[in-house]
Structure formats: C-alpha cells, structure tokens
C-alpha cells in the first residue's frame, strides 16, 4: 500500500464514521459537528484526487459558512431535549430502499470519465484537450501553466458555460423559493 492509499483510507474511514455518528447522535449540535468532520474528510479526499480547489472550496463554503449558519440556527432554536424519535421499522425500510437506490445509481458512475461528459454535452466526438475537464497528466500540466483556479475556470467559463449558468439559475430559483416561503409566514 502506498502512502497515498494509506492517507485515503484514513480520510475515508473518518468520513464514514463521521457520517454514521452524524445521523445517530441525538444532540443536534453534536450532529452538526460530526457533519463538519465528514466535510473535512471529504476535502482531504478531494486533495488526494488532485482537486485542491474543490477541496478548499468544500471547507470554505460548507464547513466554514453553511455549517456555521446551521449551528447558528440550532443554537437560536435550542432544540435540546425536545427531539422526537421516529426510528421505527418503516423508517429503516425506507432508508434501506432510498440508500440502495442511490448506491446503485452511483455505482454506474464508477467508470464515467471527463471525456465522456464532454461528449455528452457537446454531442461531438472531436474534443479540444484544452477545454474539457482535465485529469491525470494533462491536469498536472494545466495546473503548472495556469494554477489550480485557472485549470478549473477555463473549462467552467468556456466549454461548460451553459450547464454552469443553468446550475446558477437553479440555485437562484431555490433562493427565491425560500424567500417566498419565509415571507408568507410573516
């Protein structure tokens, strides 16, 4: 086993343990902290995959901003002691079915490559190696030439501009929806 593999298993085991603890804790604050530990472990896995930018964004956005707001809300509501228990047989069955379905659909992504994604989006077979999302040796060369942010930004704002904008529109829709729902009660 190489050093990278050992480090990967450390992060992977930490992520799985953290995820199990997150959903089994009764104290919502403790749950939130286990979720932070999961996010940190995943950031470590991203760095091992040479995706330093994604890893650092994971920490910056999820662990640093979103989870802080979660904690903020949990503390303001002070949920301690008022938790209800819905862990019966129907929940277990539902959890296994949903989890199994997600696992099966994720398993199909195992041999999905960036090139395949680029082919599906563009519909063409001729792809310029400079614009599709890079991996392996080509990714290393792009990072050398343009830095970690440049290597992500060029495909994102060039080749994948339309899917990227549509994702942004989706998030905007969610924000507008949240505001509408919140305002209705006031």
């Amino acid at each position: 086993m190489t050093v990278v593999q050992i480090v990967f298993y450390v992060f992977a085991v930490a992520a799985v343990i953290g995820a199990i603890m997150c959903i089994t804790q009764r104290n919502p604050i403790a749950s939130a902290f286990w979720l932070v530990s999961v996010l940190m472990s995943l950031a470590g896995v991203f760095v091992l995959l040479q995706a330093q930018f994604i890893g650092v964004m994971q920490v910056l956005v999820y662990a640093g901003a979103i989870m802080v707001l979660f904690l903020f809300v949990i503390m303001l509501l002070d949920l301690g002691g008022k938790t209800s228990d819905r862990r019966g047989a129907p929940s277990w069955v539902l959890a296994v079915v949903v989890g199994g379905a997600i696992t099966v659909s994720m398993a199909q992504l195992a041999d999905y490559t960036p090139d395949q994604l680029a082919h599906e989006i563009s519909g063409s077979t001729e792809l310029n190696a400079d614009v599709v999302l890079l991996e392996g040796q080509r990714l290393q060369e792009a990072i050398e030439a343009r830095g970690v942010v440049g290597a992500i930004a060029e495909p994102l704002f060039g080749f994948y501009l339309i899917p990227f904008q549509i994702t942004g529109l989706l998030l905007l829709t969610a924000v507008v929806g949240a505001v509408v729902l919140a305002k209705r009660r006031i």
């Binding site: 920490v59 802080v68 942010v149």
Partner: protein
Amino acid sequence: MTPEFKGFMLLSVLKMLVVFGVVLVSVALLTLLERKLSAWIQNRIGPNRAGPGGLLQPAADGLKNMLKEEVMPAKANPILFTMAPAMAFIPAMLLSGVIPFAAPWAINFDFTLPLLGRFVHQGLMPMIVADLPVGFLFVLAISSLGVYGIVIAGWSSNNKYSMLGGLRASAQMVSYELAMGLALIPVLLMSGNVSFTSIIAEQQTGMWYVLPLFLSFFVFLVSGFAETNRLPFDMPEAESELVAGYHAEYSAMKFSMFFIAEYAGMITIAAMTVTLFFGGWDIPLTAWDDAGGSSIVVAATGLAFVLKTFFFLVLFMWVRWTLPRFRYDQVMALGWKFMIELATVYIVVMALAIHVVERVLGLTNPWMIGASYTALNVVLAYLVFVVLDRGLIISGSVPRRPAAGVMEEG
C-alpha cells in the same frame, strides 16, 4: 524512502518547529507590546515590574495562567467546553505554515545518520512550510473554521452573555468573510494565480499591489479587523455589554488559548496583508534579492518581511486604542451595505480595467500597467471616500447627527 525525500522531510520538520516557535514567542511578546502601547497612548508607563522594562511580564502571565484553578460552570457541556479553546487555537496556528517568510535559501547537504540513513538536499529551499497551490484560498478556508471555537465556547458555557457573544461572532465573521473573499478576487485577476509564491513573484516584477489595488487593500484590512474580532469590531467580547462575551466562563490556560488564538490570527492577517499587497519578503526597488540563494539574502528578506508584518501588528494595536467600538447594527450595516457592495463593484471595474489595459491597449511594461491602475484607484478612492461618503469617514470626528447609543471606551 529516497534520501531526497528524507532531506525534504528533515527540512520541513525544522521549518515547522521554527515557525511554530516563532509564532508562539511573538504572541507572548505581542501581549506585552499591546499593554505597553496602550499605556503609551494613555500616557501611562505600563507593566514594568517583571524583568528589565517589564520584558518578563508574558512569562509571569503564562506561569500564572498555568497555575490558576480551572473552573467549569455546573451546567456547561463538558466535552464542547473543553474542546472550544483548542478549536479556536488550532486553525489560528495552522495558518502560519502557508505564508512565505523569506526568499528561497540554497541548501546543499548529503550526510548519513546511524539508524535513519542518508539525507540529501540540493538547490533552493522555499522558506515556507507548505507551498500550497491553493494559496490564499486555504487561508480563507481555515480562518473561517476559527469561528467554531468561539461559537462553541459561547454555547457550551450555558451563560446568556457567552451565548450572545458566540452568536455575534458567528454573524460577524460570516459577514466579513464574504467581503474579505471578494476583496481578494482583484488580486487573483492581477496575478493570475492564488498561490502566495506566484503573487510575490508578480509583485517583484512590477508594483506592489497596494497601489494598483488600493480599494482591495482597504476592504481586506477592515475585514481583517472584523475577522480577528479586534476593536473597533470586538462585538463578540464587548465587555461593557456582554461581561466578556464568549470567554466569560473560561479561566486559566483555556482562557489563554483564546488570547493566543486572537494574537496568532492577528499575525496571520498582518502577514497576509504584507504578502498580498506589500510584496511579501520583497525588498522594494531592488532586484538582487528576487531569486534568493545565499543566507545573506534570506536574512535580509526575512527581516523585510518581519518589519512589514510588525508595522501592521502595531497598526492593529494603534487602531484598537484609538477608535471607539461600533454598535452591533453599525458593524452589520458596514459589512453588508458597504463592504460587500464596494468589493463587488470593484471586481467589475478592475476586470474591465485589466481587459482594457492589457488586451485593448496592450501595455506590457509592468510599471506602466501598475501606474495606470494606480491612477484609476486614485479616482475610485476619491469617489468612494469623498463623493459617496459625503465626508463621513474623512471628517468622522464631527458628528453629523446625534448618535443613537452611547459610545463606550475600548
């Protein structure tokens, strides 16, 4: 393990020990400097009993804090209450490892130790513990974790003042993180990279970024004050409102840990300001130091870095003992209604300016490019601080309207 890898590991461990030791000792001395400076500003003498001129005061304080009784409130959450100081302390210390503090040093050695084997190192050693490709993004990410220590300290103490301090800290730090991150995007646009090493290299060839990106520097520095919870932004521990805020229930070494974290955070912000806007370890207007190499160059550039960082640390303290504290709604209004908008508009303006200057006009001389951005920034600074501000910042001591609350002393 190859001998080269062992040589790299040996140097890395040495650098870690040196950086960690220097930061901890600086923190101790900064607490003394803070008390001395506040004394001078208030026309007092300051601590002068322990050691010559009070130099041993930090040691006496440290000893006292280690020997004091640790008190835990009866209804505190014991695990989180104990974890919180460490959660504030670790991110603050972690960040000292990613900022380059001197020019690269040429070190060549090849020796064999019993049991450990052969160690080899050839060529330049970057004077930074970990030269991360993600650069300042890593600093933003890790410093955003520092808020957990404060929030958890406030919540787990089971005290309403602590709780309010923790809530204020989380709201304030999340707000100003946005402004800080947005203020650094023009730096990325100018340098084309986020790694500290390449940003310093870019500034060596042309102007320091403080002139061509002056408004970024301004927003970054103000957000830095807010991020480190220093006055005039020390709402989480405002003693006249919240007793002592999030660390009201802490005593002895746990209390010290929060202080060490605060001062280590100050060092990080000062070092980052120097690296991003003042050329890092670069000695201005000379080129002999740029490539690094001999130990004289390393010592000179290291001294330049320390002096620049020291200037900003003194500035932090100077501001603390000069300005009164904001009201909490003023802090939030400044963050959300001024800083974020200013940083966002500035990104658009600078992106346009960079496009015009470097693509349309096609300037290539870095000094000419820097001079044109500086001219633009003078105009923008005039617009922001004089026209838009209607004299509120510049002539701030003249009250335009009666203040709604009573201003407390720091």
